[in-house]
């Protein structure tokens, strides 16, 4: 997959994961140009509808990047993120969206390399046309 289309949406939380993204930027670490990060305060604040809408509008994949276990800024956001991920994955399965197109992972604060690697690996596993 190359170029800016089809888009891959990466939701990052405002804390650990976004810090990883910023560090990747400061360090000039490359990741695919079709990756569009969207910062939210906490992954637990997302809703299945927001993720499904990305697929509705043609996203090839959606990756949720939050805080490592036990490091959630709000304490319970990780648990909520896991619940909404499972719920969304089940709905995506019903809608025929391959499981490789939706991911949940975490990045520690300041880990630019981990951010770039995780985003790159997720994107490489997607098929070229945005469908599975």
């Amino acid at each position: 997959m190359s170029g800016t289309e089809p888009r891959v949406i990466v939701y990052t939380c405002n804390w650990n994961a976004y810090s990883g993204l910023e560090t990747a930027g400061i360090q000039g670490l490359p990741y695919p140009a079709n990756v569009h990060p969207i910062k939210v305060m906490c992954l637990g604040r997302l809703h299945p509808g927001l993720i499904l809408q990305a697929f509705q509008h043609g996203a090839a994949g959606v990756l949720l990047l939050g805080c490592p276990p036990e490091e959630c800024h709000y304490g319970f956001g990780n648990t909520r993120a896991e619940e909404l991920f499972q719920q969304t994955a089940a709905l995506a399965h019903l809608l025929g969206i391959g499981e490789e197109r939706l991911g949940l992972d975490h990045v520690a604060a300041g880990q630019g390399e981990a951010f770039a690697t995780k985003v790159r690996q997720f994107t490489e596993h997607l098929s070229g046309d945005g469908r599975s």
Binding site: P48, G49, L52, Q56, A90, G96
Partner: protein, 346 residues
Amino acid sequence: MVEETITGAGNGLLESDQLWACLTCGRCTEVCPSDVRFLGFIRDVRTLARESGRQGRCSHGATIQTWMRMMADPGLDQNRLDWLNDEAATGRHLRGLRTAKASDTIYFVGCLPHYEVLFSKIGAQAVEIAQSAVKVLNHLGIEPIVLADERCCGHDLLWEGELDTFRRLAALNAERLRATGAQRIVTTCPECARTLKLDYPQHVGDLGMEVVHISHLIAENELGIQDRGARKVTYHDPCRLARHMDIREEPRQVLSALGSEVVEMQHSRARALCCGTSAWTHCGATAKRLQVDRLREAKETGAETLVTSCAKCQIHFKCALDDPRVADELNIEIKDLVTLVAEAIG
């Protein structure tokens, strides 16, 4: 609203929040002395509002509307039949369900598998309704077709004024339903029944087959149930069934056939109260109030079970009971009619 529209003073209606607050339950039409057909009016005005870029406030983060819109993609390759073999989800009595590639009957499932996922936390029995329906049909000697590429019927989008997406869904379903060569569609969802029976002919032509809600089909047949456990129940009439389609006695006949004593709430049949929300839009304090009022009516009957025949009504009541302040006072078992029948068959 109607008067303002007729007199030309209703220019603000399209921007009005009230436009989306209507439950489209049809209760006003039942009692209107001037024969105002408010349902058609509100639907048409909402279509105008949507055409000019306005919309209601979607509940559940627009998750439900989004999957409906996704299903309008003809290329969608869904995995929507896992529930047929999902024995872990429900009891032993729902194993060994039989469907067929060719049959005179189609069971139209609707969004039940999706509701199961979204509302599992409040104990929605959505997939159990679908499994029970196939079990009951099997009991009546029917092995139905269940379509792997069925789409949402489009009911909610139609009533929210999103006519173009509704028509795309309807066209996809009509093509697939006609291709089966079946003569009859059975639904467990009153909204699917209404939409396929009354709205599809207007938008995508006659399907060439009968559309029946499963309560109607069961009422017409002898269930042959020997072990009839006595149960005192009250029945909540879903708006689409009781007022839009005049199906009020059949579900009660089915309950009587199960040996249940049916006790009526203060408002029942054509005067029944709505479960509080329609088309997954505009849920809020008013919806909750309506749900609590209805649950209070159910509780006052002394019934041990509140029976519905609409998955959405069940979800809305269970959501209200998810609030401990409501549950402490009004807790009551809530079951779908078809799941009760499947349990009685054993």
